[in-house]
């Protein structure tokens, strides 16, 4: 009899002597399921924003703005960051933990650069006179990049935590699921950005 996620129905019950017994986990399936559910909320959130933008752009007052070109550089940052994360996973699978930590570090740095770049895009748009209250297209850009940025920030937090664990030697050749799960989240957040960019660029 197999469980929903295909793992055998056997549960390791950890009962340590003289300490509080741990909660038994089907750990192999638990985190992917949690991740899937979290990603579902993220996808539904941006699906709603997408629907809102498609409806709202038919409004009589819609004046398209030129999205600051720095966002294309930012897109390169976040895509590269995702690729480096895959390199980190490869390095873990080869057993070279220090190399993997390096890739992880670069990946985090690019994530931070992405956020800084988005802030620059905000200030460029602001300097052009497109404020939150004066242009709805610009308002969508501020809002969507802001909400997306919050998800990127959360991702950076997870990656930093992963890096700390990597530096502490928590991951081995067959034990880097934490990195793999963080990478799935990070790729999805990157994909959401590309979706938003296309959505905001079509005029």
């Amino acid at each position: 009899m197999n469980g929903f996620d295909g793992t055998p129905d056997l549960i390791p019950v950890h009962v340590a002597v003289n300490s509080e017994p741990k909660i038994s986990h089907r750990s192999s399936g638990l985190y992917p399921m949690f991740l899937l559910a979290v990603l579902a909320t993220v996808m539904m959130l941006f699906a709603a924003f997408t629907a809102a933008l498609i409806v709202r752009r038919t409004g009589s007052d819609w004046v398209p703005v030129q999205i600051p070109s720095v966002v294309w550089l930012n897109t390169v940052f976040i895509v590269t960051s995702s690729i480096l994360l895959e390199c980190a996973k490869k390095a873990f699978s080869r057993g070279s933990g220090s190399q993997a930590s390096l890739w992880l570090g670069y990946s985090i740095a690019l994530g931070v650069l992405f956020l800084i770049g988005q802030l620059i895009a905000w200030s460029v748009l602001n300097d052009q006179g497109f404020l939150l209250s004066t242009n709805t297209h610009a308002a969508f850009f501020y809002m969507l990049s802001g909400v997306h940025g919050a998800h990127v920030l959360g991702g950076i937090g997870v990656l930093v935590w992963t890096l700390r664990r990597a530096l502490a030697g928590a991951y081995g050749i067959d034990q880097y699921r934490g990195v793999a799960h963080a990478a799935i989240y990070w790729h999805c957040v990157g994909a959401v950005w590309i979706h938003l960019l296309v959505l905001l660029s079509i005029t």
Partner: protein, 587 residues
């Protein structure tokens, strides 16, 4: 409580606890407290509905800002209907039925030692506490609490100057709701992962009790439906405080001045709101039905009829619930073809619900029924779902809804579905699992008084509202005698208010019973009802972490009447220990 738990200090055991059972009870008690506020508001609403022009000098002394000169201010009436709805839907029913009962029962019924993420669980409860406090605090800010309706449609909710309650009160409403959404999403993530990943050995999906199934479906709906409301709330906040025009059209006039907004559409908010709003109804109603199945099986001593069809009907109902939201907006302006679509899919929902309803009734067929209080409430759920569901047919069809929309008919309908069905679910769950929660029984005589006072008042009251709506009485109207054509129906409003007081008397009996039983109830053994599901394998009250090693499951949750009348096979009984002429029933 077990030794592991006993080693923890009091505040870690009962205040900042990570034990799913303590958190579940915390949720229920919080909901009970919020219910006192919401019921208090309903009393004030009914007083206004019954005696719209009377002066209340006593009320002026109690609530001087709301009853200036003894007469209720119209804007406070709007605040009351808004906050009654908001608190009841999100801070009473959601908390008690889904978060409360769900937390308590999911790990016990699937054979897990706790939730998948106990810390996240604690965090989710401690996010709801500030949300409740913000909602309550909003009554005391300038202009009072939000008054734009529980749906918070713009422009009333988007323009701080539109109503007295559209100011700080509305901002606090949005913040409180944001915290609620965060908390509920954390809870749903925890529920879904626990149910899918922490089931004990042998507990396949098709061996799960239906309460767990309904809570799984409800969690998945919560995960998918709440984010769009978050998006709407962010845009609403930006419209209010950032000067954007997402929802605000041009030409709005406030205080004689034309506002600078342009191009936005309030319809967009309505779509996003109801994309959550309709599934939210199922998030609340389905767990009550699941509880009804569990209670009916235990006290009917026979297997649930059509377990598999029920599971599939739940899933079909859930999928349909996400594509029917437009039936709340037939009168908002909509392409007639779209209205036709929303009518058809809405009426389609009767199919899975008919399956569930028939299965519930058939589960009583030739059953060895024991009319305990929990069983009475479970049968009450079946009746309320059927009665309330009939009204839904009229509201789901565009042609009739255009007449009924915004009438008291709607109020009667949704009070049946997310008022009576859900609160009966909470009561059935409390009477049924009270021994497991506190190791004591609730008093059955007081319980039955509670049940009969409640059902004999809420049914006629809400059916009465259907008639008022048929007569054309509108909801949210400050003075029900304002329109001459509904004045002849005013006597019905007096009766409904009288019935409300009967219902409140019933709830007082419940409170007395609850607190009396907590301390002086008769002691309960581990399995007082001879239930076949896993929660009854733990001692009463269930200890911290439930089992040292969760039991292995060999059969379905409703193996009753397999060993002659009254006999049953528990889920954890190995096949070789079953001594019965008939083979064990698999689910």
């Amino acid at each position: 409580m077990s030794s592991a738990h006993a080693g923890l200090p009091f505040w870690r055991r009962y205040i900042f606890s990570t034990d799913h059972k303590v958190i579940g009870i915390q949720y229920i008690l919080t909901a009970v407290f919020m219910a006192l506020v919401a019921v208090g508001l309903s009393v004030l609403i009914r007083m206004q509905m019954t005696w719209p022009v009377r002066l209340w000098p006593i009320m002026e002394q109690l609530l001087p800002t709301a009853y200036e000169g003894g007469a209720l201010k119209p804007e406070f009436y709007l605040t009351m209907v808004t906050m009654h709805g908001t608190i009841m839907v999100f801070f009473v029913i959601s908390l008690a039925l889904v978060s409360g009962v769900g937390n308590f029962i999911i790990p016990l019924q699937v054979g897990a030692r706790d939730m998948a993420y106990p810390f996240l669980n604690m965090l989710s409860y401690w996010t709801i506490v500030p949300a409740c406090l913000i909602m309550l605090a909003s009554f005391f800010v300038e202009g009072g609490a939000a008054a734009g309706g529980w749906t918070s449609y713009p422009p009333l909710s988007a323009l701080p100057g539109a109503l007295p309650g559209s100011g700080l009160g509305q901002t606090l409403w949005i913040l409180g709701m944001a915290l609620f959404i965060v908390s509920f999403t954390m809870g749903s993530l925890n529920f879904a992962t626990t149910i899918l990943n922490l089931r004990t050995k042998g507990m396949s999906l098709m061996r799960m009790p239906l309460t767990v199934w309904t809570l799984l479906v409800s969690s998945v709906l919560g995960i998918l439906a709440f984010p769009p409301l978050t998006a709407a709330a962010i845009m609403l906040l930006l419209d209010r405080h950032g000067g954007t025009s997402f929802f605000l059209p041009e030409g709005l006039v406030l205080g004689g001045n034309v506002l600078a907004y342009e191009g936005g559409t309030p319809l967009l908010f309505q779509h996003l709101f109801w994309f959550l709003g309709h599934p939210e109804v199922y998030v609340l109603v389905l767990p009550a039905l699941g509880i009804a199945f569990d209670v009916v099986a235990t006290f009917g001593r026979r297997p649930v009829f059509g377990y598999r069809t029920t599971v599939w009907a739940l899933i079909v109902a859930a999928v349909l619930s996400m594509i029917v939201w437009g039936h709340h907006m037939f009168t908002s302006g909509m392409n007639p073809y779209l209205g036709e679509y929303f009518s058809i899919v809405t009426v389609l929902i009767t199919l899975p619900f008919a399956v569930i309803g028939v299965n519930l009734v058939a589960s009583l067929w030739r059953a060895d029924i024991r009319l305990t209080t929990a069983m009475l409430f479970a049968i009450g759920i079946i009746s309320a779902v059927g009665t309330g569901g009939l009204g839904g047919l009229w509201l789901g069809t565009a042609a009739s809804d255009i007449y009924f929309h915004s009438s008291v008919f709607v109020v009667g309908h949704f009070h049946f579905m997310i008022g009576v069905v859900t609160s009966f679910g909470i009561f059935a769950a409390i009477y049924y699992w009270f021994p497991k929660m506190f190791g004591r029984h609730m008093n059955e005589t007081l319980g039955k008084i509670h049940f009969w006072l409640t059902i004999s008042s809420v049914f006629p009251a809400f059916i009465g509202m259907h008639y008022l709506g048929l007569g054309g009485a509108l909801r949210r109207v400050y003075d029900p005698t304002y329109y001459e054509y509904v004045r002849p129906l005013q006597e019905m409003n007096v009766w409904i208010t009288f019935l409300l007081f009967v219902a409140i008397a019933g709830q007082l009996v419940f409170f007395v019973n609850l607190f009396r039983s907590l301390f002086w109830g008769t002691r309960a053994e581990a399995n007082p009802w001879n239930g076949a599901t896993l929660e009854w394998t733990t001692p009463s009250p269930a200890p911290h972490l439930n089992w040292n090693e969760p039991p292995t499951v060999y059969g379905g949750p409703y193996q009753y009447r397999v060993n002659g009348v009254g006999g049953y096979v528990a889920q954890h009984t190995p096949p070789e220990e079953i001594k019965c002429p008939v083979g064990p029933h698999e689910g």
